[in-house]
């Protein structure tokens, strides 16, 4: 898998607003991206499940998983299927970030931002594959939605990983406190619906969730999100 890092995203995670870094920082970013390409082992896995509704609760009968919360209902209520997705850059990335955090913090910080951008890109690739797969079946995909977004409880993390057999397939685990390890990883759910059947759900709403790009943030309930873009609360100010 080819690694893609969007420099603009790296700048955003570093809080560089003018989109123009000083020469030293720009060079360090370049070096970090090269280093990231060497050490990263991008892996992804996904599985598709049918959806059933039980009142206001969504259930995936094939794996017996209930998906609780209003946001999940809004995302999947009009869907026939959903795809559960897991992606990771691998453990060496964490280790290298930790190494620089102890030895050259500026580089640690930048590598961390590059890796965040890279896992985001990896996620988008995986998402595109799901979309393509869905299109072949005449289905449309919603945006992706991850545990911790809105009222989708992160406690579901262990179940998602179990369903994906993620430790075995891509080396992805979660701690007891539901943090993904390797840290540069994402799990997500994408709804799949038939245009004609999605009566209560238009594309725009389906698209509101998932990837936090600027126009999406204002619709999200996570007002404390470190990546929220409608205020000045961005990562650099919130360490």
């Amino acid at each position: 898998m080819q690694l893609k890092v969007d420099i603009k995203e790296v700048y955003r995670y570093l809080g560089i607003k003018s989109m123009e870094a000083d020469a030293a920082t720009a060079e360090l970013i370049d070096r970090c991206i090269c280093e990231l390409e060497e050490i990263t082992e991008p892996r992804s896995t996904s599985r598709i499940f049918g959806i059933e509704k039980n009142g206001k609760e969504i259930i995936l009968p094939e794996c017996g998983l209930p998906l609780e919360g209003a946001d999940m209902y809004e995302l999947l209520g009009g869907c026939e299927y959903c795809s559960i997705l897991g992606v990771t850059l691998g453990i060496q990335v964490d280790r290298r970030i930790d190494y620089y955090s102890r030895t050259q913090l500026s580089k640690g910080l930048i590598l961390n931002a590059c890796a965040t951008a890279a896992v985001e890109a990896l996620c988008e690739e995986a998402e595109a594959r799901v979309q393509q797969q869905a299109a072949e079946e005449g289905l449309t995909a919603t945006r992706r939605f991850s545990p911790g977004y809105g009222d989708f409880d992160v406690a579901v993390q262990h179940s998602l990983l179990g369903i994906l057999d993620a430790y075995k397939t891509i080396g992805l685990t979660a701690t007891e406190s539901c943090m993904l390890v390797p840290r540069k990883s994402v799990t997500a759910i994408i709804g799949l619906y038939r245009e004609e059947k999605s009566s209560g759900m238009d594309k725009a709403r389906a698209g509101r969730y998932g990837q936090c790009s600027e126009e999406k943030c204002s619709g999200c309930g996570m007002e404390q999100c470190e990546f929220r873009k409608d205020g000045d609360i961005i990562e650099s100010k919130k360490f």
Partner: protein, 792 residues
């Protein structure tokens, strides 16, 4: 203990996949297969029987995930699952066939990547092993492991809680390493040394992809090799996972592996009784290949193995308080960062192995050694040499070491050998043997050889192979025992020739008390290397010594085509000019521009004119304030702020060094403890706070990430600290922040607490009992400044 015995001098056949078979029986994704031992024992028994009928000699219990963590949400106990699973397997196997207790990974990553501690992993595995006691399992199969650290915990748990044979397989990726980064040679070196009765690989890949890894393993393994491939690579078809290698093709690869010397076979994901039957039929009338593994001496970290004997290997000696004021200070002040930087410098200078010694009477050597080992192994991949005169320190450290370390040291004294060799054997370490005994250090080479012989033959009695022994013939000083210097060199040659073991020497002792020590050191080193010294213990930052080693490697034909030598010295007419004193730029500007390399020399220059405190208050703090303001105005961004901070840190190091030398004064504006709370592994924010606090003159004791409340309390009390900073990233870990605050308040330690983290705000912080909320690192500095001003 049981009536069934087995020999690994003939082929033995395990079973195939359990998971694949359970899927056929309708198990759902995410459903716990282990629960079938209770819910559907008849299905499990049926699968076991199918494999036995296909020709398996050994069946593996359905207990891959039967550990406390994975069973937590199931409502079943480890004991009931394990006991039931063994009974079902035994019932199917009857009296003749063998039952292996299967133990899979915990499902979590161990520290430092994850939060599961080594001893916690040990306890999880020990539970599984103990649950099997009284049941009729014939061996323990630790399988599908990716993390060598977990393997070590599992093998120790198996061996300390049962007397059954232990087999162990790891699972490799296409890049030839496990997910966590262990290569095949490292696995063999560590796992066979830990006393596994068979080792090998399973899962992840098909037999074809496994072939090169199988070759590598059979080349080195002294114990029988076990291979359980998948039925090829998984493909996703019509919503189902299918594997692309059929039974016939599978078997053809198995036969090739048998030629490499593999004796134990089985199947993993996708394999069925059909595969096992095909393998059984193909192996009929065949005998295992008689292969002699390559003899090698090597030490390993979790991801790197260093072979001794094929070229000179340098053991870095710097992490040792003897005669080193700064290391002493660092150990006393728990300043692990200083020691870690010492490790990194040695690595960058070309060390292959690092000696670690924490022997200082005024500290808890054992606790310090263990934390050093953990920190070092999380940060760098060089194998470690654990150096202590105390057996309890050695044992505690090698137990937690992730790899195969060197123990420094044993000697010819009977009681020392009796104390140390069992530790060497149990933890599968290498060991240095000093050629001295009850009568001291003999003056003649022949007598030192005699002691070396005694050490080697005694070690062999404990089951320690001689490949794992390094003999140190001991260097004496030319100023005091001039005539004995050449005896050491002679003894090295004799030990090498007569005993064929690896050799080491602490080289720089030789020049003690004489002028121009470097000249004597490098001359002696060259002589000792020529006599057969494999692994000199020296200071890798000593360029002359390193030059000698590099030159020797060319002259002794180990640096082939002088490649390394040329890469180091080509185009380098002489030594590069030192930057010492070269800077024309003022310190203020150096900081503003983040010119890290210039900060040290410039500070040294300034120290000739003014005191350290004057530099801090007159140059560093104003520059920091200015850059901080620029940051707040958005004129510069976080990376520049941090580069400036790193620059200031360099200046501080020089000033501290000066103060330590002169023994006068302190820069400290107050002591602060920082920790990322238990369960949380995201600590970049805390690290930013740390460097800025240090910049403003605060002493920071950094407890790291995933720190339990009790450790924070302990550190606060031990160091008498008044201000604690805690960080947490997620709502799930803010709970643990709250627990930590509560523990601190209840302990009566009387400290104040500031908190920070992505999901916190002023209100939330006060609700969980924090005294201060820092929205960013600059604010944390202001809080600390205000706090200590008030305290004054």
């Amino acid at each position: 203990m049981n009536q069934r015995s087995f020999k690994t001098d003939s082929f033995l056949l395990f079973d195939g996949a359990m998971g694949t078979m359970l899927q056929r029986e309708g198990i759902k994704p995410g459903e716990l297969p282990d629960s079938y031992n209770i819910l559907h024992p008849e299905i499990i028994e049926k699968i076991h029987r199918a494999y036995l009928e296909a020709g398996s000699d050994i069946i593996t219990t359905n207990t891959f995930g039967a550990n406390r963590l994975k069973l937590k949400r199931s409502g079943y106990s480890v004991e009931e699952i394990v006991k039931n699973a063994i009974r079902i397997a035994r019932k199917a196997a009857g009296e003749k066939k063998l039952v292996a207790l299967g133990i899979g990974p915990t499902g979590q990553l161990l520290e430092p990547s994850g939060t599961l501690r080594f001893e916690e992993a040990y306890a999880l595995f020990a539970d599984q092993v103990r649950a099997a006691s009284g049941e009729e399992a014939d061996l323990i199969l630790i399988e599908t492991m990716s993390d060598l650290y977990e393997v070590k915990a599992a093998i120790l748990a198996a061996k300390e809680n049962s007397s059954l044979p232990v087999f162990c397989t790891m699972t490799f990726q296409k890049n030839g390493r496990t997910l966590i980064g262990t290569d095949p040679l490292t696995m063999v070196n560590v796992v066979q040394s830990l006393g596994a009765d068979a080792l090998g690989l399973n899962c992840s890949l098909g037999p074809k992809e496994l072939m090169p890894i199988v070759r590598e393993i059979t080349r080195y393994s002294r114990v029988p090799v076990l291979v359980q491939p998948n039925a090829g690579l998984p493909e996703y078809k019509n919503g189902e996972t299918v594997f692309n290698v059929g039974a016939e093709e599978f078997t053809s690869y198995i036969l090739q592996m048998a030629e490499y010397g593999v004796r134990l076979f089985g199947g993993c994901c996708g394999t069925t009784p059909e595969y096992i039957a095909a393998v059984r039929a193909a192996l009929k009338d065949k005998n295992p290949a008689q292969c002699v593994p390559e003899s090698f001496s090597a030490v390993s970290s979790a991801s790197k193995t260093v072979k001794l004997g094929d070229s000179v290997k340098i053991i870095g000696e710097r992490i040792n308080p003897t005669g080193k004021k700064k290391i002493k200070e660092a150990l006393k002040n728990n300043d692990l960062d200083y020691i870690l930087n010492e490790a990194i410098s040695q690595k960058e200078a070309g060390a292959h192995i690092l000696d670690v010694n924490a022997g200082l009477p005024e500290i808890d050597e054992r606790a310090m050694m263990v934390s050093l080992v953990k920190e070092l192994q999380s940060l760098i991949n060089l194998p470690l040499q654990i150096d202590s005169v105390r057996a309890d320190v050695l044992e505690a450290a090698v137990r937690e070491y992730n790899g195969k370390p060197i123990i420094n040291s044993v000697n010819g004294k009977k009681e020392v050998m009796e104390e140390i060799f069992p530790i060497v054997k149990k933890y599968g370490a290498c060991v240095i043997g000093l050629t001295l005994d009850e009568c001291g250090i003999p003056s003649k080479a022949e007598e030192r050889l005699e002691i070396a012989e005694k050490i080697v033959s005694e070690a062999v009695k404990y089951g320690i192979p001689k490949e794992d022994i390094l003999i140190d013939c001991l260097v004496l000083t030319a100023s005091a025992q001039q005539c004995e210097v050449k005896e050491t060199v002679k003894a090295v040659a004799m030990v090498k020739e007569k005993l064929g073991v690896s050799t080491t020497l602490g080289v720089s002792n030789v020049s003690f008390g004489l002028p121009n020590r470097g000249l004597l050191n490098k001359t002696f080193l060259a002589g000792a290397l020529a006599a057969g010294l494999d692994a000199p213990i020296l200071n890798p930052m000593d360029q002359e010594m390193m030059d000698t080693v590099h030159a020797f490697n060319v002259l002794w034909d180990t640096d082939k085509e002088a490649k390394n030598y040329i890469s180091l010295y080509a185009g380098m007419p002489g030594k590069t000019d030192s930057k010492e004193g070269a800077s024309e730029t003022g310190l203020h500007k150096i900081v503003m521009n983040g010119l890290k390399d210039e900060a040290g020399p410039k500070t040294r220059e300034l120290l000739k004119e003014m005191g350290g405190m004057q530099i801090v208050d007159g140059h560093l703090i104003p520059a920091l304030d200015q850059i901080g303001q620029k940051y707040e105005k958005g004129e510069i961004y976080l990376p520049q702020l941090i580069q400036a901070a790193e620059t200031v840190k360099k200046a501080f190091e020089v000033i501290r060094e000066k103060l330590l030398e002169s023994g006068t004064g302190s820069l400290s504006k107050g002591k602060v403890i920082l920790a990322t709370v238990k369960g949380d592994i995201h600590d970049i924010g805390k690290n930013i706070v740390k460097i800025l606090l240090q910049n403003y003159g605060f002493d920071v004791i950094d407890l790291g990430k995933d720190v339990p409340p009790e450790e924070v309390v302990k550190a606060v009390k031990a160091h008498g600290v008044r201000l604690v900073g805690l960080s947490a990233l997620m709502t799930t870990t803010v709970k643990s922040m709250e627990d930590t605050i509560k523990a601190l308040k209840e302990s009566g330690a009387g400290c104040s607490i500031m908190v920070g983290g992505a999901v916190l705000n002023e209100d939330y912080a006060s609700r969980i009992g924090a005294d201060f909320y820092g929205r960013d690192a600059r604010e944390a500095v202001k809080i600390a400044q205000g706090f200590f001003d008030e305290v004054k």
